[in-house]
């Protein structure tokens, strides 16, 4: 706690009149209602009020000077000032006065329109925005869907999910929020989207990634393989001699974006037969691929 004499800026032998004058000067400068945008002045005003409370009471001042009490105030500081109410619901505040900018409305420009809007809205205060969370399937997020949210009050809210929506994106439904006492403009409903992961698709930006298992024969000889995409299956041509890790691209089978679609990227993975295969073993034990087949060439130092 600061020294109350210092807070008020007076000498320790200041007369009661000096103290009153000093406090008045500070109050006029620092009163929170006269500085509605200034947090700092609110703090300083509190200090000044406490100091004044202590020093303007001759008994308390004497006891403070004698060191019997400290500078902590006893009076509960006011928690809310008029400015807080005026800022809270400017539209419903009947004291609010528009004459400070009424002349801006005469000019025929962007500001005039904004101020007209403000004047219209302040007659009927908009209600609060309401926030919801909606969990959407991976494929619904890619392809778009229509969802219905059931509200706590038993009502429901239809949400149209645009194709290609992203995790964490928020949809604003104008006028679907709360309205005040049945009249006035309703606020908005804000729906935050979370996307549940898919069993085998993953999304990277506008592209969809898929790991596609293929047989040894399909890898060596090439094949046409049925491959899932976000909107049905397609026959994918695997080129002869495709290895594990090879990436094939299905153009336009990704997520919708501005002016088109991303791609589906398919990473191949060769899977050997799960059970030991005597024929394969017999063939490989006689097979001589030649010296050019050395998969670990790059690892040699």
């Amino acid at each position: 706690m600061k020294d109350p004499y210092e807070t008020l800026g007076v000498q320790r032998d200041a007369s009661p009149d000096d103290i009153r004058k000093a406090y008045r000067r500070l109050a006029k400068k620092l009163h929170p209602d006269l500085n509605p945008g200034n947090k700092d002045s609110e703090e300083r005003f509190k200090d000044a009020s406490l100091a004044n409370e202590l020093l303007s009471d001759p008994d308390k001042r004497k006891r403070f000077d004698a060191g019997e009490i400290d500078a902590m105030g006893t009076e509960k500081p006011r928690e809310r000032y008029y400015k807080d109410y005026a800022a809270e619901a400017p539209a419903s505040n009947s004291y609010n006065n528009r004459s400070g900018y009424a002349d801006f409305g005469d000019t025929d420009d962007l500001f005039a329109e904004l101020f007209r809007q403000q004047a219209r809205q302040s007659r009927k205060a908009p209600g609060a925005d309401l926030r919801y969370r909606l969990s959407v399937d991976f494929l619904d997020a890619v392809n778009g869907a229509s969802k219905r949210i059931t509200l706590p009050d038993g009502g429901s809210l239809d949400v149209s999910i645009p194709a290609g929506i992203q995790e964490g994106q928020t949809l604003r439904l104008r006028g679907k929020g709360a309205s005040l006492a049945g009249e006035g403009i309703a606020g908005d409903a804000l729906v935050e989207i979370s996307i549940t992961p898919h069993r085998f698709f993953t999304r990277v930006g506008d592209d969809i990634h898929l790991e596609l298992p293929i047989t040894l024969a399909e890898a060596v000889l090439g094949a046409r393989v049925k491959t899932p995409t976000s909107n049905g299956s397609v026959m994918l041509a695997i080129p002869k001699g495709s290895n594990t890790g090879a990436v094939l691209r299905l153009k336009g089978k990704g997520v919708a974006r501005r002016g088109g679609h991303g791609d589906e990227l398919i990473t191949l993975k060769v899977i050997l037969p799960l059970q030991a295969n005597a024929e394969l073993e017999a063939f490989l034990s006689t097979w001589k691929p030649g010296p050019s087949y050395d998969p670990r060439q790059e690892l040699q130092s």
Binding site: Y23, R24, A27, K28, H31, D33, L34, P36, G37, R78, R80, Y81, Y82, K83, D84, Y85, A86, A87, P90, A91, N93, S94, Y95, N96, N97, R98, S99, G100, Y101, F111, L114, F115, Q117, Q118, Q121, S122
Partner: protein
């Protein structure tokens, strides 16, 4: 939450006569419900502000009217400014979402 005249006088520690003058001067404009006066928390805070102006700052009654009038304009401007900034922010957000 509606506050009755009696409750208002209790909480602001004003006397009947002073309240009548303040209302007559239009420093306070309570609502009227069924011919009774209905005050709000904002009215109470405003009354405390008027008390502060008179008792702590030595403003005379002519000055109180001038200050309140200017202050009401400040709050009108502040809410217009807040609204303007909100609109500008929405506009910026909409533009970034589109691009």
């Amino acid at each position: 939450m509606i506050i009755t005249r009696l409750e208002f006088l209790n909480r602001t520690r004003l006397d009947q006569h002073t309240l009548d003058i303040w209302i007559e001067e239009e420093w306070l404009v309570p609502e009227r419900a069924d011919s009774e006066l209905a005050f709000s928390e904002a009215d109470i805070a405003r009354a405390q502000l008027i008390s502060d102006l008179i008792a702590e700052m030595g403003v005379n009654s002519e000055g109180v009217g001038v200050i309140l009038h200017l202050l009401d304009q400040v709050h009108g401007l502040r809410s217009a400014m807040a609204h303007l900034l909100d609109s500008a922010r929405d506009q910026t957000k909409a533009t970034t979402e589109e691009s």
